[in-house]
Subunit: 223 residues, 2 copies
């Protein structure tokens, strides 16, 4: 098991977040490190999706995970148990990550050692959508048990994301989730979003998403 | 279908929320109106639980629902379609309700006409836990697909609630959710919390919760 580094977030800086996020993105581009910001409701399957994705990607990319949590280390420990480099950001009461917090998570890492860093944001469909973390791409998970009406109720999250992972499709048989209606609602908000249907538990559909991500990172690092 | 009143929240007032919440609670007590604040992640089943609960309670109590949503009226319309008095609070970007917003929702209602008012808070396990809404009781839903580790990751929410409804128990057969481990984690944080296991979809367990709530409201209004 990899050792998990724990970083406590003590204060929040709002005012210059846009500037800070741009600086961070510039530094990531210079170091050819692809930062992916993964957002969702609590329990939509962020950690399981990260594990399954990195299992498929394997040594095709040098990967690291920054786990944000209000008050535990369980996710980072799960990641590290698989031998993957993991950092735990303990956010105290904060309900989202901003660029300064992500920068803290990256401190102590040599960016040149990593092609891909995935941030698991705080489980929340509202606040994280409002803060640029400095990521190259924003990805969200909507899980089937949450319902097909979420794009109507949390539109900003669906608008700021480049990719939507529809997770827990193994629950579709038990659910009245209307996947076509959901997609129409999402594409209405954000016509450019990429949608992948996956089950991180059974592995269904994860290969296509992992291939897409690997390709994006390779294009980015080749620039 | 009842007509839904829509109220837009324009500004947020933090500073005197504790005072405002106490004033609101005093006014509710005077009018014998039991205010229940229902919180959960997005998609845990707040609206369905409210509908099932009020269906069982029927005319034993005079009930109303205040629906908070960032940007839609779908929930209030579902409630009103059942002939239940409903108010829609559109919160703009706000990720939680405070006492001033709830007071806005109650404006225009004659409190003496209602024994029970249920507020459906914004879907979010983080921010709503930090704001006293003036409610008499705080209730949260944790749904089975979210996972049994949520008390470790969102401890404040489990600490501030009087009741935990474990919803979607019809998903247990598909899930590795450990209900005993979850309960132990919750009771560790909050030994006084009442826990009901329900499925708002199938109706399983909802009667016991609805009976408990009816009894609480009757005791409160008899004071």
């Amino acid at each position: 098991m990899e050792e998990v580094r724990l970083i406590e977030i003590k204060e929040e800086i709002h005012s210059d977040n846009t500037v800070k996020a741009k600086q961070l993105r510039d530094s990531l581009s210079k170091n050819k490190t692809f930062l992916l910001n993964l957002m969702s409701s609590p329990g939509a399957g962020k950690t399981t999706t990260i594990l399954k994705t990195l299992e498929i990607i394997g040594d095709k990319l040098r990967s690291s995970v920054i786990e944000a949590d209000i008050d535990s280390m369980v996710d980072a420990e799960k990641i590290a148990a698989k031998g993957i480099h993991a950092v735990q950001l303990r956010t105290g009461g904060f309900c989202h990550l901003d660029a300064s917090m992500v920068e803290k998570g990256l401190e102590g890492m040599n960016l040149k050692d990593f092609d891909l860093v995935i941030i698991e944001n705080v489980g929340n469909l509202v606040c994280p959508a409002e803060f640029d973390t400095g990521a190259i791409k924003n990805v969200m998970i909507l899980s089937v048990p949450e319902g097909d009406d979420k794009p109507l109720k949390y539109p900003l999250m669906f608008t700021v994301c480049d990719v939507l992972l529809v997770n827990k499709i193994d629950y579709l048989s038990l659910s009245d989730f209307d996947i076509d209606a959901m997609k129409e609602r999402v594409l209405n908000l954000n016509p450019k979003i990429r949608i992948f249907e996956i089950s991180s538990k059974t592995g269904e559909g994860v290969q296509a998403w992992a291939d897409w991500l690997t390709n994006e990172v390779k294009q980015f690092t080749a620039q």
